[in-house]
C-alpha cells in the first residue's frame, strides 16, 4: 500500500525535515505517527497524500512509484486517499453538507446518492442539525468532524489524518477513532499523525515515531 525507501525531504533550499525514512505498510494496516511538534509528522503525511515531492528516495503508493506519476494520473490516485488536514482546510463559502459532498461531486456521483450518503454520515458524527451551517459558524470540534466526514465520505482505500482529534475532548476523540477503526475493519488503511500519546496508548496499534525527521521507532511493518 505505502512504501518509503530512504526518503528525504526538504522545503526549498532548507535543511532536510525528513531523513532516510523507510517503512512499508500493507493494505489494511493501522498506524499512528507520533513525535513532538516539528518532528516531521505532517511532512510525512504530505508526501503520502501527494502534496509534496521527496527530495530523494523512493515512495510507492498503491504499488506505483509516485515520482513517475504523470499530472493527469494524480487525481485518480488522490481519490483513493482521504485526508483530514491538521487545519481542516474546509471551504468557508460552502455549507457543512457541501464540504462533505465535495469528494463525491469531484468523482461525478449523482446528487441523490450524494445527498443520502452525506446526510447519513453527518448525522453519524453528530452534525445532523448543522447540514447548512458554514464552517465559520461551527466550533473547532464541529469543524474537525466535518473535515473527518469529508475525508471518509468517498470510502478511500487509504485514510491519512493529521492531528484529527486536536480540537475535541477525549470522549469525542475516542469516538472518532472508533470510526477510523470501523473503516479499518472494512479494509481501509489508516495512518494517523498525533502528538497525543494518551490517545495512542488507548489503542493497540503500531507506531511510527519521528524525532527530528528521523524514524526512531520503526513499527513491526518496517524492515525494508
Amino acid at each position: 500500500m505505502i512504501r518509503f525507501e530512504n526518503v528525504g525531504m526538504r522545503y526549498g533550499a532548507g535543511p532536510e525535515v525528513l531523513s532516510d525514512i523507510s517503512f512499508n505498510l500493507e493494505p489494511g494496516a493501522f498506524r499512528f505517527v507520533t513525535g513532538p511538534s516539528g518532528a516531521g509528522k505532517s511532512s510525512m503525511l504530505k508526501l503520502m497524500y501527494l502534496a509534496e515531492k521527496p527530495s530523494r528516495g523512493l515512495i510507492q503508493l498503491f504499488d506505483r512509484d509516485v515520482s513517475g506519476l504523470r499530472r493527469n494520473e494524480m487525481p485518480a490516485l488522490r481519490r483513493q486517499i482521504g485526508v483530514v488536514f491538521q487545519e481542516f482546510r474546509l471551504l468557508d463559502h460552502l455549507s457543512a453538507f457541501d464540504n462533505v459532498a465535495l469528494p463525491l461531486r469531484v468523482a461525478g456521483m449523482p446528487e441523490d446518492v450524494i445527498a443520502k450518503h452525506v446526510t447519513e454520515l453527518l448525522s453519524w458524527v453528530g452534525l445532523a442539525g448543522q447540514l447548512d451551517a458554514r464552517p465559520v459558524t461551527l466550533s473547532g470540534g464541529q469543524q474537525q468532524r466535518v473535515a473527518i466526514a469529508r475525508a471518509v465520505i468517498a470510502r478511500p482505500q487509504l485514510l491519512l489524518a493529521d492531528e484529527p482529534t486536536g480540537n475535541v475532548d477525549d470522549a469525542i476523540a475516542v469516538r472518532l477513532l472508533y470510526l477510523f477503526e470501523e473503516l479499518n475493519k472494512v479494509g481501509t488503511t489508516i495512518v494517523i499523525a498525533t502528538h497525543n500519546e494518551g490517545l495512542v496508548s488507548h489503542f493497540d496499534y503500531p507506531v511510527l515515531h519521528l524525532e527530528d525527521g528521523i524514524l526512531t521507532t520503526p513499527s513491526r511493518d518496517a524492515g525494508i
Binding site: A51, A76, L102
Partner: protein, 295 residues
C-alpha cells in the same frame, strides 16, 4: 452550463464584478462597428449594383442648335448603340429626369433648360456578349465628335475599394475589441486563481482534475459574458432603432439606401454569442495553463 453549481466562490471576486460591464461595453462597440459596416456595405453594394451593367453616353450640347437637330444627333447615337453587340437597350434620359436629379443641389423649380448640360443616353447591357468598349467609343466619336461613353468603371472601383476598406476597418476594430475582451477575461481568471489558491489546492488534494476546476471557471465566465452580451446587445438594438428612426425622417434623395436586413440582424447576433464562446474558451485555457504552474 448556466445552472451548474460552483465549488469556488467566484461570484464574490472583486475582479470579476466589473467584467459583465466591461464585456457589455465591448459587445456594444463591436456590434455597433459591425452594424455600421453592414449598413454601409449594403448601401454601397446596392449603389455599385445599380451602376454595373449600364453605360451612360454623354452628347455635349452645341450652342444655337435647334430641338430637331438635338433629337437627330441623339437618334443617331441611339441607333449606333442598338446595333452594338452586347447592348440590350439604349434610351435618352428625359431632361425632366435630369432636372429632378439635380434638384437637391440646384433647388426645386430651377430651370435647367438654359444650362449647358450634356444630353444623356442610358445604356443597358446584356449579360453576353461583352461590349467592345473601344470600338463603341470609336464609332460614337465618328458620329458625334465629343461624345463620351462612361462605363462607371472608376466610380465602381472606388466604391469597391471603399467597401473593402470599411470591411477591413470593421474587422480590425472588432479584432481589437475581441483582444481587449480576452485580456479582461484572462485578468479576471488569473485574479480568481490567485484569490482562491488555497481552495484550488484542496480541490486538487481531494482528487479534482484540472478539467473539473477549469469547468467551474469557464461556467462562471460564461455567466458573466452572457450578462454583458445581453446588456450590450440591448444597447445596440436601442441605438440602431434611434438611428433608423432618424434616417427615416431624412430626405431619401439625399441619403444612400440605408437599411438593416434580417440577414444583417443574424450576423449581428453572432457577436454576443461569439463573446460568450471566447470568454469560456479563454477562461478554460487560462485556468489550465495556470494550474500547471501551481503544481
Amino acid at each position: 452550463m448556466f445552472s451548474g453549481r460552483l465549488d469556488l466562490p467566484l461570484s464574490s471576486d472583486p475582479a470579476t464584478r466589473l467584467l459583465p460591464w466591461i464585456i457589455s461595453v465591448m459587445v456594444f462597440l463591436a456590434m455597433l462597428m459591425l452594424a455600421g459596416a453592414l449598413v454601409l456595405t449594403g448601401a454601397t453594394s446596392s449603389w455599385e449594383k445599380g451602376l454595373s451593367g449600364r453605360y451612360t453616353v454623354q452628347i455635349p450640347p452645341i450652342e444655337g442648335e435647334s430641338t430637331v437637330e438635338v433629337d437627330q444627333r441623339i437618334d443617331r447615337a441611339i441607333k449606333i448603340l442598338e446595333r452594338t453587340p452586347g447592348v440590350s437597350a439604349a434610351k435618352q434620359v428625359p431632361p425632366a429626369e435630369v432636372a429632378i436629379s439635380l434638384e437637391p443641389w440646384l433647388g426645386a423649380g430651377t430651370s435647367v433648360v438654359d444650362l449647358p448640360l450634356p444630353h444623356l443616353i442610358d445604356v443597358s447591357l446584356a449579360d453576353k456578349p461583352a461590349v467592345n468598349l473601344g470600338q463603341l467609343r470609336e464609332q460614337l466619336r465618328l458620329a458625334e465628335k465629343d461624345s463620351v461613353v462612361d462605363d462607371h468603371g472608376a466610380w465602381r472601383r472606388q466604391i469597391k475599394d471603399l467597401i473593402f476598406s470599411l470591411q477591413a476597418l470593421a474587422a480590425g476594430i472588432i479584432l481589437l475589441i475581441a483582444g481587449c475582451a480576452v485580456s479582461a477575461v484572462v485578468f479576471a481568471t488569473r485574479s480568481g486563481i490567485a484569490v482562491h489558491h488555497d481552495v484550488l489546492i484542496v480541490l486538487h488534494l481531494i482528487g479534482a482534475t484540472d478539467n473539473y476546476i477549469a469547468r467551474q471557471f469557464q461556467r462562471h465566465a460564461l455567466r458573466l459574458a452572457f450578462k454583458g452580451g445581453v446588456v450590450g446587445a440591448l444597447l445596440v438594438g436601442a441605438t440602431l432603432a434611434i438611428f433608423f428612426k432618424g434616417v427615416a425622417e431624412l430626405d431619401p434623395m439625399l441619403m444612400p439606401d440605408l437599411r438593416f436586413t434580417l440577414w444583417n440582424w443574424l450576423i449581428l447576433s453572432v457577436v454576443p454569442v461569439a463573446v460568450c464562446v471566447i470568454a469560456m474558451r479563454t477562461a478554460r485555457a487560462t485556468v489550465l495553463r495556470e494550474l500547471r504552474r501551481i503544481q
